[in-house]
């Protein structure tokens, strides 16, 4: 117990932040259910159960306060993101395996909450892409389409609310979307036949999910204001290149992991000037 100032604390907690992130996902999920049926709810439930079980087991193994950490909601956020990224018609064990891998290996092997270097949901997505490509292939993967645009809109709304709630800042979503528009639009204008248009990217649900919910994961991303711009811009450019040039249908996952590994460096190079050092001080 701290005996020192400050003696008062703001009420916000890790739990309240995570619950807000979950709440912000609801409009997108609602649109998902409206257009594609309740299948995704089953996926969410499965992933959540697996993630919580994995979390509980690891906490017990590592002798950490079980209810404190189980209640922080971070495992649920990982689980929901997995369920929303994965094909809704995939087999049940796919999300379960992914959620377990995300929590046990990516999160806890690195030291648990706040210590993991890579985004657990995206790492699990990449693993499944490699291990079970047949289930993750383009035909089943959520892509742009009239219905998906509604889902994307839902994520956008939720994301804007998160910014208003100060859970995330504008930097990452803005930089992500601007960079994606710029690069996709540029190449499309340059050669419309070979490159998909901006709408293909922006209106896909994964772009919105990526901009507001995946790239904004604070633990694994850059944290300085300028760093966030570079970081999110980097994810956007990598996403586009991977999608354009590689076999993987959905570049966000890999792009995020790549940029995760650059985040510490970006942070180090973008430290904002401290008070009084923003301009050259006058001579003594």
């Amino acid at each position: 117990m701290s005996n020192h100032a400050p003696y008062i604390r703001q009420p916000a907690s890790v739990r309240s932040i995570m619950l807000k992130v979950l709440a912000a996902l609801l409009p997108g999920i609602a649109a998902y259910v409206w257009w594609f049926g309740a299948g995704v709810l089953v996926q969410i439930a499965l992933a959540s159960a697996a993630a919580l079980a994995g979390e509980a087991a690891m906490l017990a193994l590592r002798r950490k306060p079980l209810w404190l950490f189980l209640g922080d909601g971070s495992a649920l956020v990982t689980a929901w993101l997995i369920a929303l990224c994965f094909p809704a018609d995939g087999p049940w064990w796919l999300v379960v395996a992914a959620a377990l891998f995300a929590i046990v290996a990516v999160k806890h092997f690195f030291g648990g909450l706040g210590r993991n270097a890579f985004n657990p949901a995206m790492a699990a997505y990449c693993l499944m892409l490699v291990v079970t490509p047949q289930w993750m292939s383009e035909s089943q993967s959520p892509v742009a389409g009239q219905e998906w645009q509604w889902v994307a809109l839902g994520y956008l709304l939720g994301g804007l609310w998160l910014i208003r709630q100060r859970v995330i800042t504008w930097h990452i979503p803005t930089a992500f979307l601007v960079a994606l528009t710029a690069i996709a639009g540029g190449f499309h204008v340059f050669n419309p036949a070979a490159y998909a248009g901006v709408e293909f990217y922006l209106l896909s649900n994964s772009a919105m999910l990526g901009a507001f919910f995946i790239a904004t994961d604070p633990v694994t991303g850059a944290t300085t204001p300028r760093g966030k711009l570079f970081y999110a811009g980097g994810i956007a450019v990598l996403t586009w290149s991977i999608r354009e040039f590689d076999i993987y249908p959905d570049g966000i996952a890999l792009a995020t992991l790549l940029m995760n590994s650059c985040a510490p460096l970006i942070d180090r190079c973008t430290q904002p000037p401290v008070f009084g050092n923003k301009i050259e001080p006058p001579a003594a």
Binding site: M1, Y7, R62, L68, F275, P281
Partner: protein, 543 residues
């Protein structure tokens, strides 16, 4: 004349709870109760330096009589805050979390409140240097380099009492605005300031109105009352200067280098009392609030125990700690018997309901809330991880010593990490290491010196022998050997000197610290002990 204000990044806005202690007027301690059996006046007030006692047990003192002065000409004097008999000059516990003791003058009041003769001071005739010395001798804390840098562009008066629950400056300005304005006028004249800006937070409208009215009556030119937006920690001098003038004075520099100075309203009032009324600093206005029935401001004689102040305000039964200062930066006292000193602006009674123990600490999720709240533009979570890993060099690279310990980062952290505790811990560790280094250097120097002396003695002996031999008889083989010895000794001494010079080059340290920083550091340093015990319970428990 709407003023443009400048912003600083960060800051927080906790509920201010100021209304609680402003409903009652300022009360003189003596009007509410008789003085306690003894007043304890530390020979240590002000910037940390200790003072020399001018009295001893058995001395009869008058109110306002000087009882302690500095060993050199920078120490601010302390005075008897009432008339009576000096009971003892002895070690007593300081109002400091470390619970360390310091030499104090203990006075048994005679209840007569007999003053010394009070004569106003003619600062206009005396000039700057004499005025500075007068204020020092009158016990007003104005800082060692008061007026040392010539003309000032802007004199900032700090009435921005931004910490929650503290209202002593607010009430002072409401009730004694005229005295404050007169003190400001003196400051302005002595420091030759072209402009005076009095910054008061806009949640203190009564104080603003009172100060404006007093200003209009006195007709001071180029002096303005500025209602600055309320936001903690605007009351920090550096930040208030930023808000009012746009100037950011880095932590490593003095205000005067930038043509500004900043004084508290209470200092302005103390200057008015000292110069216009001839009355040295023997009391101060203290906000008593928190877990008490009747929170209010009391003008307390220096040396009164905190418990006597609390007793006047009806402390509640579940009070479990006494805090000197506000809820953001205040220090938990080692006991309630410690005395009111010149820097005591607030005494808070704490209870588990009022200041509950923080929820369990979680790992940092790098959400960056702390960085957005930090008025010094630091990255508190990076500092935290370095401090926790004891990478103190890294922490300094990330500007640990620019942290003003305002507590904003801890206040907002969703993971409930006591971040400031880690910074205090890291700072004191770094300073302790630096001191150890200095100690080692000194020891090595002493050793070198001993070697050198041994060499010199040997050499002198050889020289003596040589002269004796030369005087006695013609050179022999033995003498030749002696001469060789002498030469050898000379060479050895020269080598030793050279080596010593080389090793005297001081190691790189946290150098280039200003005197204020040193004073601040000394303050922090004194908290060390308490911190280390807490560090054992709170910080690192990595697996």
């Amino acid at each position: 004349m709407p003023r443009q204000f400048f912003k600083f990044n960060g800051g927080v806005m906790p509920a201010d709870h100021k209304a609680a202690s402003t409903s009652l007027p300022i009360a003189e301690f003596a009007a509410l109760a008789s003085l306690p059996g003894e007043l304890v006046i530390p020979l240590q007030q002000g910037n940390g330096g200790s003072l020399r006692a001018l009295v001893e047990a058995g001395t009869q003192v008058l109110k306002g009589q000087r009882i302690g002065v500095g060993y050199d000409d920078t120490g601010t004097a302390v005075h008897a805050s009432t008339s009576g008999l000096v009971k003892a000059v002895e070690m007593r516990r300081m109002p400091h979390p470390s619970g360390l003791s310091a030499l104090c003058v203990v006075i048994a009041p005679d209840g007569e409140e007999r003053w010394i003769t009070r004569t106003p001071f003619d600062y206009r005739r005396a000039g700057l240097a004499a005025t500075r010395d007068y204020l020092r001798d009158a016990g007003v804390l104005v800082g060692g380099d008061f007026g040392a840098t010539g003309q000032l562009a802007t004199l900032v008066i700090n009435g921005a009492e931004s910490e929650p629950r503290i209202t002593c400056d607010d009430m002072l300005m409401r009730e004694r605005a005229d005295g404050v304005i007169q003190g400001i006028a003196i400051l302005r004249e002595v420091l030759r300031a072209s402009e005076v800006l009095i910054g008061i937070e806009d949640n203190q409208p009564e104080a603003i109105a009172a100060m404006r009215a007093a200003l209009a009556k006195r007709g001071a030119e180029n002096t303005q009352v500025a209602a600055v937006p309320a936001c903690y920690p605007t009351g920090n001098a550096r930040l208030l200067i930023r808000v009012l003038t746009g100037i950011e004075v880095p932590h490593s520099r003095r205000f005067a280098d930038y043509g500004v100075e900043c004084f508290d309203t209470s200092t302005a009032y103390a200057i008015y009392q000292a110069i216009t009324l001839g009355q040295p600093m023997v009391s101060r206005i203290v906000t008593v609030a928190g877990n008490v029935e009747r929170p209010r401001n009391i003008e307390a004689p220096l040396g009164v125990p905190l418990r006597a102040l609390l007793a006047l305000c009806g402390p509640q039964a579940d009070t479990n700690r006494v805090i000197m200062g506000g809820p953001m930066m205040g220090m938990t006292m080692p006991g309630d018997e410690v005395p009111v000193v010149k820097t005591t602006h607030c005494v808070l009674a704490g209870s588990p309901a009022l200041f509950p123990p923080p929820p369990p600490e979680m790992p940092c999720i790098r959400c960056g809330d702390c960085a957005r709240a930090c008025p010094a533009d630091l990255q508190p979570f990076e500092l935290y991880s370095f401090a926790r890993a004891r990478q103190f060099g890294k922490a300094q690279e990330y500007h640990l010593f620019d942290c003003i310990e305002c507590g904003c980062c801890t206040y907002v952290c969703p993971s409930k990490i006591p971040l400031v505790d880690y910074y205090r811990f890291a700072k004191s560790e770094i300073l302790a290491r630096q001191r150890d280094q200095e100690f080692a250097d000194a020891a090595r120097e002493r050793y070198q010196f001993r070697l050198l002396r041994a060499e010199r003695e040997k050499q002198e002996k050889a020289a003596r022998l040589a002269t004796k031999a030369a005087a006695a008889h013609a050179p022999t083989a033995e003498d030749a050997k002696d001469a060789k010895d002498t030469k050898k000794a000379l060479i050895a001494a020269a080598i030793a000197r050279a080596r010593q010079q080389k090793e005297q080059v001081t190691p790189a340290n946290i150098d280039a610290l200003t005197p204020e920083q040193r004073a601040e550091i000394a303050k922090i340093e004194a908290r060390r002990e308490a911190l280390q015990s807490s560090a054992k319970t709170a910080p690192p428990q990595d697996e």
